[in-house]
């Protein structure tokens, strides 16, 4: 694995805040010409540092205002059950995040829905249909204090 220099890190910091910044703009910040900036960005994409570029939408405007954190524990912990659970979670479009955890809680899920009614339907018809779920504990987000896709670089 090759290491990144300060120029690479600066480029990554800029792009994870604003992917629309042009190579020219970044070049001005770095006091170099646009060409090496292009090349570095292409390299960072190719090496996998930059996975993709996405638009971040306003969840209230697109009617996904309700966010819940849902803790799930399995009844049995066979490899097969775990894998099947993970597979099924992937396909649930309401689930934005899912983590397999250390400790008593097996999985933590973050779910976005339109309304409390929709969450009810989600749990009733989708989540609880997954077999082998033991404990299922939902808590509702009152306010989003911070939510970013950025990582601290450096």
């Amino acid at each position: 694995m090759e290491y990144l220099d300060q120029t690479d890190l600066t480029i990554l910091r800029i792009l994870q805040k604003d992917a629309k910044k042009t190579a020219k703009e970044i070049a001005e910040i770095l006091n170099i010409t646009p060409s090496p900036v292009y090349e570095r960005i292409r390299r960072l994409e190719k090496q996998g540092y930059i996975k993709k570029y996405v638009a971040i939408l306003d969840k209230d405007l697109i009617n996904r205002s309700i966010t819940t954190i849902c803790q799930v524990s399995m009844r049995y912990h066979d490899e097969a059950f775990i894998e099947k659970f993970e597979e099924q979670i992937q396909s649930l479009e309401e689930v934005q995040e899912c983590y397999h955890m250390a400790g008593q809680i097996d999985f933590v899920l973050k779910i976005n829905v339109k309304s409390l009614e929709e969450y009810h339907d989600f749990v009733k018809y989708k989540l609880s249909k997954i077999e082998n779920i033991g404990v299922l504990n939902s808590t509702f987000v009152l306010k989003e204090i911070k939510h970013t896709s950025e990582f601290f670089i450096g």
Copy 2:
């Protein structure tokens, strides 16, 4: 607030998956010319549906492999304490997400760090320095099953 038609929704679905799709490519999918696609995207940006465009980085490659979910409860629930807590959390760059929750747990945080040692330092020197924290319970992510910035549209 104006409503979005199916064309708008399709554009949003495409862009939150891949912001590099050109207006021309989107136009081909929609069977229209690029111009209305441009115009709609500008409008969606102006109206706030699209908040920003960002690069998604690989957290392992940039050395943020350790993710923890941290549950925090406050000792006192004065407005002033809550607001100060929220303010201080905003400025912690290790914290990627923070939600004010309903229920016994006041806040849920998602934190990315390089190593267990760094997490130790984070809790010791940053998080626990915030006054009025009562309970602080960290659990570690063993595996990221799903993590997307996309919302289900529709």
